[in-house]
């Protein structure tokens, strides 16, 4: 029973947090079996038995026994790293002295909620990153919806930064968020169900079908754009979640179109959809230009390099795809 052997024998211990086994109180080398008579050696320690993994026995303190348990080991390591991430996020996302306390408490709670999550979820769903996109308030949502329907008068499309990371959507109307796209998607599915219902073509499984097909189209779009960004070898700070957020904004216009179509027939549908298509086209161009094009072009100076032209075409293509998809996904709902 020596430290190297014990460390090698615990495959589940994360590499960044190796608690030196020597601190935990080595088992008595003369003892062939772990002493399970005391209440302190519990969980995995008791089950290892004589395999000599160096877990503390009767001599260890309760805290050391707790830490030796690999599950709580991992949980503590996970919790600490999440706390560090949460604190970073807090440090970077707060602008102005007045909001510091809000940010502090938010960071503490992020740490607490991070500990409450089972460790496996964070591998699949980056919860801390997602929380940034849901840090919205009613005022932001109102302004953003106004921007989506009428982006023509808005001057400054640049996202404010604070120490190299963007400010939370609460504080800057240009920042992308995931609340509006998520709600818009769900509302679109429900409104589609309503539209089918008024045409007597409704059945509950049709709702599921609508939802899956819309989700499939969204996934396809995201993958296509990611592929083209990769092929054009553009270095942008456009993350995948940002892209999903931007592509989700068109559902707002689609909902408007369908509702108008339900109330006023085909004329209303075409009018509202046409307006929303124009708006989303302008919105996407102005937003993506800042993200995809190089810094020079973003400042308004047209640059003639071949690379920048390619990026411009890509931006135009993405923006033009939005109205097309808006029409494709809604025309069969309005008769």
């Amino acid at each position: 029973m020596h430290p190297a052997g014990s460390a090698a024998g615990t495959p589940r211990q994360p590499s960044k947090r190796r608690i030196p086994v020597s601190h935990l109180g080595m088992a008595d080398p003369h003892q062939l079996f772990d002493d399970t008579s005391s209440a302190q050696s519990q969980g995995y320690g008791a089950q290892r038995g004589p395999s000599g993994l160096g877990y503390p026995t009767a001599s260890a303190s309760p805290q050391a026994a707790f830490l030796a348990d690999p599950v709580s080991n991992m949980a503590m390591a996970y919790g600490s790293s999440l706390a560090a991430q949460g604190k970073e996020l807090v440090d970077k996302n707060v602008s102005g002295l007045g909001w510091w306390e809000w940010g502090e408490s938010w960071g503490h709670e992020a740490r607490a909620s991070g500990r409450a999550l089972p460790p496996q979820i964070d591998r699949f769903i980056p919860v801390t990153k997602l929380k940034y996109y849901f840090a919205v308030d009613t005022l932001y949502v109102g302004k953003k919806l106004g921007l989506l329907f009428f982006p023509y008068l808005h001057q400054d499309w640049e996202v404010q930064y604070q120490q190299d990371t963007p400010v939370a959507p609460r504080f800057d109307v240009n920042a992308p968020d995931l609340y509006i796209p998520a709600m818009a998607f769900i509302t679109y599915v429900l409104v589609a169900g309503l539209a089918l219902g008024t045409q007597d073509r409704f059945s509950p499984d049709l709702l599921g079908l609508q939802a899956s097909s819309a989700l499939a189209w969204l996934t396809l779009e995201v993958l296509a754009i990611l592929l083209s960004l990769y092929l054009v070898t553009v270095n942008t700070d456009l993350t995948t979640i940002d892209l999903v957020a931007f592509l989700g904004y068109k559902y707002v216009g689609m909902i408007g179109g369908i509702l108008m179509g339900l109330l006023f027939g085909k004329i209303g549908y075409y009018l509202v959809l046409g307006w929303c298509c124009m708006s989303i086209f302008v919105f996407m161009i102005r937003t993506l230009r800042l993200k995809i094009l190089a810094e020079a072009a973003a400042e308004g100076v047209p640059v003639r390099g071949a690379r920048n032209q390619l990026r411009m075409y890509l931006t135009m293509a993405v923006a033009a795809a939005q109205p097309l998809l808006m029409y494709w996904l809604t025309f069969h709902l309005v008769r």
Partner: protein
């Protein structure tokens, strides 16, 4: 009174709290106390769900499967959303409890469906009012329990979608 209090304690059901929470739901304009959601109790919500099913049955619609399915998925969605939006996390039981309590006005709607059909203009208006009532109460309780500022309408909207589905079940 002595015996009643004893059995109440033994069953673990706090009738006084249930009554308090019911009153909070019935008056959506009065600000809620943040501490009432400290214990998650599902006794009230289950009672209201059964009452909703019973009144729907009286009106001739046997749709228990849809009720359970929709409420399960809806609760899950709102649980995910609230965890992402609030700074402190929330447990699934708490979400289910609040949503269940705020189902009470929907029971009133389906109760009235027994007496007159809701498919006209009056029915639509009544259904809209009830949906707004339910979602305002639910968002009010969530906001005060989770200490979220400036987000009441944002929380009310998904709740309104969920209660809208219930209303659809009741009306059609």
């Amino acid at each position: 009174m002595f015996v009643w209090g004893e059995s109440e304690g033994e069953l673990g059901i706090n009738f006084d709290h249930i009554w308090q929470k019911t009153l909070t739901v019935l008056n959506p304009l009065k600000p809620a106390d943040g501490s009432i959601m400290n214990e998650t109790d599902l006794a009230g919500p289950i009672l209201f769900c059964v009452a909703l099913g019973a009144t729907l049955l009286l009106a001739g619609k046997v749709q228990f499967g849809y009720i359970y399915g929709m409420s399960g998925i809806g609760c899950l969605g709102i649980y995910a959303l609230l965890n992402l939006m609030s700074s402190s996390g929330v447990s699934y039981g708490c979400v289910a409890s609040v949503l269940g309590y705020c189902l009470l006005p929907m029971v009133i709607l389906s109760g009235s469906a027994v007496f007159f059909s809701l498919q006209g203009m009056i029915g639509t208006v009544l259904a809209l009012v009830i949906i707004v009532w339910c979602s305002l109460s639910a968002s009010k309780i969530f906001i005060s329990a989770l200490d979220m500022e400036g987000q009441q309408l944002l929380v009310a909207y998904p709740c309104a979608l969920l209660y809208g589905l219930f209303a659809l079940l009741t009306v059609f």
